[in-house]
Assembly symmetry: C3
Homo-oligomer: 416 residues x 3
């Protein structure tokens, strides 16, 4: 649609899948080490893992946990080969995960380094009206260059969100959002061993360009877990028989039914709090509507590599042209070559389906990912977007990525 020119003049951090970042990403240890709270150092709380992201350290100031968020432009690598001009917090999209404990007094300083006003709304929090962060309604918008303080006491626990309530259609579509996990005062019963937080978002980035178009309402072409797409998404690695929580948050325009394989789980919480035991639903796919969080819990008792993805099929694909014709059954001999001489990078749908595309490596527009990609130990996986792998292992060689599952002999579907 447009060539993007000199997008942001300021220096912006390039955060993605680099080694240092990955180490931090796994590392709620960083937070725990810095935490003076007995609650988080006595083992009552599971380390929260934000795949391809991290938790934000705080400092204690006169008995108040003080966090500092800077709203700013961010260059985000969605997957190797594609960098997107986003907006976020502290160099990241989604912003870093905030963690605190029910009963804590928290102060969050918000500095605005965006080119326009912003505000931060604490989604689902029970707090004084003037701390609610709705620009115009409960506070003045925060002008560029200024810092505002939010301060309140956490009267609840659960998995909440933060996001702007100021030019919000634009700011959320550009990537401004994050988790705020409030741990229960008395810990989790039963104890949770591992807790993953994954933010769902949709984007439209015109192929060949780098900046999302926030005006798009229905026809998105990139679907992300923590602003990353497969194969750039961290795997979810857990030890066999660990009790695992996965929290999903959604500030996109569509519901995302998140499915994973090999296990049944229970929906245990929303952004309204914990579900009473008897109200919980067993699911293998949890539908996450916009403007909500959903937390599911399960015991990872089935070893292997398990697909974890949005079950809307187009959402587990990368950038594609949804208006291309279906050529199944059509003899295309010579047609693609002719078209490609007119439209550089043109790639027709195959006459026998699209499987063959996963094995090609054709040149597409610059800064644009292939539609179907990723390879497993048995060949092309041919996915994209909201897709990753839940790796359940008897012994963990690495929490970053233990490699492919070693199947016992005879445990794989095979030719007869």
């Amino acid at each position: 649609m447009f060539t993007r020119r000199k997008f942001f003049s300021g220096a912006v951090a390039l955060i993605g899948g680099c080694a240092l970042f990955k180490r931090i990403a796994q590392g709620a240890e960083v937070v725990a080490a810095q935490s003076p709270s007995p609650a988080s150092s006595n083992g009552a709380y599971p380390p929260v893992i934000t795949p391809n992201g991290l938790s934000l350290p705080w400092k204690m100031v006169d008995g108040v946990k003080e966090f500092h968020l800077t709203a700013e432009p961010v260059k985000r690598e969605f997957a190797p080969g594609m960098i997107v001009n986003c907006w976020g917090y502290n160099g990241q999209t989604p912003g870093p995960t905030l963690e605190a404990v029910e009963g804590d007094r928290v102060r969050i300083l918000v500095t605005n380094h965006l080119p326009e006003p912003t505000s931060v709304h604490w989604h689902g929090f029970i707090l004084p009206n003037g701390m609610d962060g709705v620009g115009g309604l409960t506070q003045k918008h925060i002008p560029p260059g200024e810092t505002y303080a939010y301060e309140f006491t956490l009267k609840q626990h659960g998995v909440q969100m933060y996001h702007p309530h100021s030019d919000e259609m634009v700011q959320m579509a550009m990537g401004m959002q994050g988790f705020f996990v409030i741990h229960p005062k008395d810990g989790y019963k039963p104890t949770v061993d591992r807790h993953f937080c994954i933010f769902l978002q949709e984007w439209f980035v015109e192929p060949g360009t780098s900046t999302p178009n926030p005006n798009i309402m229905t026809d998105f072409n990139l679907f992300t877990f923590n602003s990353r797409v497969w194969p750039g998404t961290d795997p979810l690695v857990v030890k066999l028989n660990q009790r695992v929580r996965i929290s999903l948050a959604n500030l996109s325009m569509d519901s995302h039914p998140i499915h994973f394989h090999g296990h049944r789980f229970w929906v245990v919480g929303t952004d309204g709090g914990e579900l009473p035991d008897g109200a919980r639903w067993p699911e293998v796919t949890v539908n996450v509507p916009p403007g909500t969080t959903r937390t599911v819990e399960f015991v990872a008792d089935n070893p292997g590599d398990w697909a974890f993805h949005c079950h809307k099929n187009h959402h587990a694909m990368n950038v594609m042209n949804h208006e291309i014709a279906n050529l199944i059954g059509v003899n295309q001999e010579g047609v693609s070559d002719k078209l490609r001489s007119l439209v550089p990078g043109y790639m027709a749908m195959g006459s026998d389906g699209m499987h063959e595309m996963s094995e090609m490596n054709m040149g597409g527009p610059k800064n644009t990912l292939p539609m179907m990609t990723g390879t497993g130990q048995f060949g092309p996986i041919s996915m994209g977007g909201m897709f990753t792998v839940l790796k359940v292992r008897d012994r963990i060689t690495s929490f970053e990525d233990p490699g492919w599952y070693q199947h016992p002999e005879g445990s794989v579907a095979s030719k007869v």
Copy 2:
């Protein structure tokens, strides 16, 4: 797309936000006054409030509560500055709210003043098959000019709907729908103090025109609470510590996740009836799928002005062009002026986001609302569509609109 000419020749009522109407809108008192039912006059039932709407009076005829609905064209002011050619009932869209009590015998006379046949289906009712209102299947369609009688006994309680089952894609997209609240025979336990009913709908009205296009399936541009858009939506005003129910009904093509701030609530009912206590979910956003009602309950124990809106961001905006280019980071010096000389009313997206649009007041096409609008005590709120304000007050100066919340000193996020 088309210039509309001499749309409806008959006289139609203009109902919107005028003072008289507002008084009635708050006024379940009107109904209570006219109600001979001990059930509704002994305080067992909360007054049902249909914001920007009203409940329909009935008369007792030989022990039967008799209502009269007239299906007809309606001119509806969505917000000051925009009037839409709708179809509805009794001069309104949504039609008036019907209220009765479990066990009542009701008769509803339906007169068709539309230019085509219609019928009324009583959504979610347990009734005799021949009263179900499905044109062709359970009755003849009601021709223009004729009146049909539906009569049945209410065997249930809950928040139900009524709508046509005749050319229904067109008739519902034109605004034909309403609430039917059936109060429980033995009252609400605990007692409910205030009960709001809000109908959700989506429309496509080509900018510059006045009639919705019911053929649109996905790309809507107006999103309404009771056929009104912000800032034309009535606030929801409640006294501190009142127990409040809010019922939401949806006959649009999309789910609407309705969110409000400052409180957690419980989902207590669907159009299938009351949820058992133990099955209720705590939420801060209730997702309302098409063809359902959802009733939530909470105690309004947090004073202030709380945003109340659909959490799909584009649904809390007014008419916009979802296909405009994203100009974030693009130097547009002089470009808008040039374009405006070619396209009257053209307004580009800002190079620094869209916040600045909320402070402009540019001329757009006639009968078209600005995309982002509304002003609070702290400046522009910059929303539209499915947005209003839940006002929780210690003392109520006015149930219509008590003005902005007076924050105690120091309770507002501020510059540091």
Copy 3:
């Protein structure tokens, strides 16, 4: 978009609404007769009915229930007058329903007669990782011409799905999916008398052509129950006071809120298993997100012909052009005729709504169904797509179609 030429050269089965097929469709008896399992022959299990489809017979091989699925192109009659080039299993789309009992050892042989690789994923099953059917991740893709064996023990009960996990966006959009019902070891309590299984899917078939376009992401034009559209959908026939389960599965891109009239029901299961009693929700519309199943239960205690449909209005219509202009209120005298001379088959929206279209029978593009169709005992029903009739009868004359309900005198809404 394209003329389809010599689509599939191989012989494909034409399966639709023929008499033989209908008889089989009702016939879980076929399975029961062939079943050596005491569990299914002792009456503990209700016959599963797949409307417009059937269950797959199996054979016992050394104590293992062996099924054979062949993935292949299928010509499917969506309704009389429209045949679509799909992909499916064993000549059908959806594939045949598989039925077994918790604790059974099952083996499923999958032969690939598609022009590209495939695999079968057992959605929601607790099974060994290597049997999970994710091409590239847990097994090699199955090449054309080859047969693979899946074998595992059923550790759960519930209503599950099977579908490809190989070029899945294309293969599911072409119709590859089916039910796998795992009956509980100890039977249903209370006993279920009748259990219907209905698969929900969306398609885009360019009017005048015959092959779905799987690249479409949002703008579908055909919405099916078991790959059939009204009036080609089998009615759901039950005896008065039978306890009925209806299972719905969805592998499309949208949630489908399925509604039926005259009864309230309880959501009793998902693809994650049975809901605990106390967690069940009463509904009259069950929203089925993509990648899930929902099972509802009710006692059919209200005799009559009850509409059963998706409550997204456009989904209960057939092929239409969603971009046609709204001509309500516009004098079109002579316009349609002029347009029709330019665009053969052109049919404008009526100036008084669309009701009149249901009574016309104009020539449209070949192999394209009318938008609104079907006739009941009281005139045109004017629906399409995801619509059928739940027929509850005191005495059953035929489980295929007992004809229209005979209303007791005075039980039908009528002119006053």
